[in-house]
């Protein structure tokens, strides 16, 4: 077992543990912290795969910006411990079976996958980020701009809500 495999298992355990903890915790701040653990662990896995730019963006954007906003809002609203309610009927009859089916299908696909496992660095980072940017601004320029407009609309909505007199 080489260092990369060991690192992968540590990171995967951190990501899974964080994800379970996110649901299990009752306090929003603890849940948010667990989500940050998941994101940082994912960034580590991207690094192992040689996707350095993606790893950096993952930490800067998700862990560093979006989750800071989450924590900020939770602090600002002074949200307390969540109340446990009985699980809803729809969740029992629809959610649980579909969850089980999804897990089985995904596990089956992964276990019997013929695609070779892709590991290890070896990608020229500068070229990779240049190609990524070129693709974003040529082939995928329409979805890219559409996403920007979507985010802009969301910001405008937030501003309108904040300015409204209650």
């Amino acid at each position: 077992m080489n260092v990369e495999t060991i690192l992968f298992f540590i990171l995967a355990a951190a990501a899974l543990g964080g994800a379970v903890n996110l649901i299990a915790q009752t306090h929003p701040i603890h849940s948010a912290l667990s989500l940050i653990v998941v994101m940082v662990a994912l960034a580590g896995i991207y690094l192992l795969l040689g996707a350095e730019l993606l790893a950096a963006v993952q930490i800067i954007v998700y862990a560093g910006a979006i989750m800071v906003l989450f924590v900020f809002i939770i602090m600002l609203l002074n949200a307390g411990v969540e109340e446990r309610t009985a699980i809803s009927r729809a969740a029992t009859w629809v959610g649980l079976p579909f969850g089980v089916i999804l897990t089985v299908v995904l596990g089956w696909r992964i276990a019997f996958s013929q695609a070779p496992a892709h590991t290890g660095p070896g990608v020229d980072m500068v070229r990779a980020s240049r190609e990524l940017s070129q693709m974003l601004f040529t082939s995928y320029v329409f979805p890219f701009e559409l996403t920007s407009i979507l985010i802009l609309v969301a910001i405008l909505g937030a501003v309108v809500l904040a300015k409204r007199d209650f």
Partner: protein, 401 residues
Amino acid sequence: MSDFLSANAGILIALIKVVVVVLVLLTAVAYITWFERKVVAHMQSRWGPERVGPHGLLQPLADGAKFLFKEDPTPAGIDRFVYFLAPFLALSLSLSTIAVIPLGPGQIEIFGRRTWLSVAELNISLLVVFAITALSVYGVALAGWASNSKYPLLGGLRSSAQMLSYELSLTMSVVGIVLLTNTFSLRDIVDDQRGGLLHWFVFPQIVGFACFFISALAETNRVPFDLPEAETELVAGFHTEYASFKFAMFFMAEYAAMVTVSFMVAVLFFGGYFSPFPDTSEFHWTFYLPTAGAVISGVLLLIHGLRYYTAFGRVVLPVIGAALVGLGIVCALPGVIGFVQGPFWLIAKVATVLFVYVWTRGTLPRFRYDQLMGFGWKFLLPLSLANVLITSLIVALRPAQ
């Protein structure tokens, strides 16, 4: 033993580098507090620390011992896990940034392996610095929240908002340099500034430099942007409820962040480890500048120390002076002289930036909170965006090399 050494040389070298850099950084942090108190004191016509050791040189040691042995009360009603996590996060994040900063040109040889003069040599080191900076807001925000107290909460909220806002212009102000150099590697950025003063990026990127320095002041919560710990309004801001060594951890984190930012300024805008003189034979005498600086300051310290008013100082100061003279002579030896140039110039630049930091603290009053936000969003961010636009226009119109 030698088999083990050769098999694990990479890990061993990395460990040695980590230990050396962390020890040097922590000592530097301790003495920067002394430096800051001294400089600010002299700017305000005071003496500063003077009693513990000659010129208060042992004051950091005394402060460290005090932090270790102080009573450490834990406030009631806190969130224990987060309360203890926050200082740890703050310190470990601000100590780890230094790992990617190139400390000297070329490679050195340890255990028969060539290795770069930096803890970690990555080709996305600039992005790593920003990723760690982006995470460092958690230490402050969580400390404020977990303390279960009004002043820390307000301080934590203010600082999260401030750090988020200024992070934007901090990142944007560097985009100009990335456009000019086509790389995210700090070492490549430094190597592009080879050839003396006129090649430094501070000249083509003067606007970017101004934005970077101001945002960095805000990002490290320094005067005039030290709103999170505005003592007249918020007692001590986010770390009000922390005492003893946990407080010391926040304190060290702040100063370590200051050192890192000074390194970043030197590396990005002032040519990093390159000398300000051109790399030609008529400037060969500049290789003796480290020696000259050490010998002159050593002799001055020796003369001054012999007439110091305490017996302890009359012993310690001349010894330090003599050590400086010795160091200067070692720096002039043929095998060493080429090697010391890089670290010498880098440290000289970092020390200058640190002095400007302290100078700013001694000069400027604190911003009001709304002024701070307005300045960040309405002035600094548009300015750095304009810098990006103009730089990319120039890069696009410039004839291809």
